[in-house]
Symmetry: C2
Subunit: 168 residues, 2 copies
């Protein structure tokens, strides 16, 4: 087993997930306690702010959230009077989402706070480092997406390799 050792701690996907979780937790807590909004809601809100009149499934595409989560977040935001859902001109099934005045106002409160949180965590890095870091993240996205489409070669659909469940 000596040779097959893999220190989880330096296994990239693990580290990535670990750090992301840590940061997420921190941010989520801040949004929750300070603005009463959860992360999915924040994401939806932010994308609407960015592209007025965006539809729900456009948000799905950009965020990788599934449509159910987006739907729930949109409904919640609407209930709170933060977003408005206008009928879509060309497609009767769809909604065009837009911020209401109070949605805008909340967004404007959150943004500086978000920037502050971000810069607290990333304060120690130079602009070059941040840029480089971001660039790598984007490349990883591209690679992972490409792989995903390609499937996992060498492993046909149903080649389970583990002993039949001793469970139950």
């Amino acid at each position: 087993m000596a040779n097959s050792h893999l220190p989880l701690d330096s296994f990239m996907p693990y580290r990535l997930s670990f750090t992301a979780g840590l940061v997420s937790e921190h941010i989520a807590h801040a949004y929750e306690t300070q603005f009463g909004i959860d992360v999915p809601q924040w994401r939806v809100l932010a994308w609407i702010a960015e592209r007025d009149g965006i539809t729900q499934q456009e948000i799905c595409q950009r965020t990788r959230m599934d449509k159910v989560s987006v739907s729930r977040a949109a409904i919640a935001l609407n209930r709170r009077g933060l977003v408005e859902r206008r009928p879509h001109a060309r497609d009767g099934r769809s909604h065009m989402l837009a911020l209401t005045p109070s949605g805008i106002s909340l967004y404007e409160q959150i943004v500086p706070r978000a920037r502050e949180l971000e810069s607290r965590i990333f304060a120690q890095f130079s602009d070059e480092e941040r840029e480089g870091f971001m660039a790598i993240l984007r490349k990883i996205d591209a690679a992972a997406t490409a792989l995903h489409k390609a499937g996992t070669p060498g492993h046909p659909p149903d080649d389970r390799q583990w002993p039949e469940a001793l469970d139950e």
Copy 2:
């Protein structure tokens, strides 16, 4: 609102979480279909492989998993005959976890596959880039952890700023 604009897409915590999610999904799917093991189980397994005789809450500390998840994973792994739970010599409440032969064997099957997945995703980067990337992740961990302990200054426990829930 012009000025308070924040492109989510270049907001670091978002990007981090986005990429980590993407990679996680990919990895999780591979473990699941090829070895019938989920991510929490894999993490527990890997830590046991690394430190034979580790206890559950040591795993909690190292992985940030909560003790319930670790417990569940440990029980599942035990049921499958992959890990053994010996009584702890000095503490009757605790278990010392160790891999059984088939646990070792499974681990040894997973490791090369994990390395392969990792290298597929990170193939395009030089060693320096990877090192740098890892280093940044670790620094972020440190910063986030420090902040977490410090709390969020400037915001006393209960200063909600959002309008009372229009929900329901």
